[in-house]
Symmetry: C2
Subunit: 110 residues, 2 copies
DNA sequence: TTAGGTACTTACTAAATGGTTAGAAATATT
DNA sequence: AATATTTCTAACCATTTAGTAAGTACCTAA
């Protein structure tokens, strides 16, 4: 028995919680995933749904989410422009997390 | 039908996701909850378990978690000091969230 | 010709967060 | 007498993140 066997699941670089948070942290990230959810949604709708977010932050988050493969983006070559976002297969897998977070808020935070 | 009936669960101040994140966001918060989990743990153990955290951040987070009623603290009047932390009833209710986050990391992030 | 709609971009500023270092307190051990 | 132990505090600085405000592009309708 080594003395450090006590720490079985220490949070180092391999910690699954840390890895998930690398992707999911950020003031707006989970709220955006929550709003996209199972639907296809346009940029403007999302902007109205995520009350208080600035255009800069919304675009920045969306680009980042697309880069991280949680969200996919489809732009139609129209004027005025039309861009649709939806969750990827990987993004859909975050929904159980979001559901738990929403449930916790509903049940415990007034 | 009003035109804004479309936005049924908009993320404004009453959004349960937003409310939960107010409490749970922060670089170290969920990792600390993950490490405390169902056990009673001393400050020093926690420091070793959450690899990379500074003493300042750990104490700051713990104080904040105690204030938010997610963690309870018991200090023994001994020298050298001994302080134990564990999750409150409310804190335990965050574990399903943490479990989902850990599962997501394990299954999807290398 | 002017205004409106949609999806962005850019430059700048402000605020929140995190890190480093040093130290304090009280006792036991060397 | 000096050192170690354990938990925690304070001052200061650096970095990261978020917010503000303005502008761009292109076409349509008034």
């Amino acid at each position: 028995m080594e003395k450090n066997l006590k720490i079985i699941n220490a949070c180092d670089t391999n910690c699954p919680v840390k890895k998930s948070l690398d992707i999911l942290s950020g003031k707006w990230t989970m709220m955006i995933l929550y709003q996209i959810n199972t639907r296809t949604i346009r940029y403007g709708e999302l902007k109205r749904a995520v009350v208080g977010i600035s255009e800069k932050m919304l675009i920045q988050e969306l680009n980042s989410l697309v880069e991280r493969k949680l969200v996919s983006k489809k732009a139609y070559p129209e004027i005025p422009p039309r861009v649709e976002y939806k969750l990827t297969e990987l993004g859909v897998k975050t929904l159980p997390i979001i559901d738990q977070i929403a449930a916790f808020g509903l049940e415990n935070l007034v």
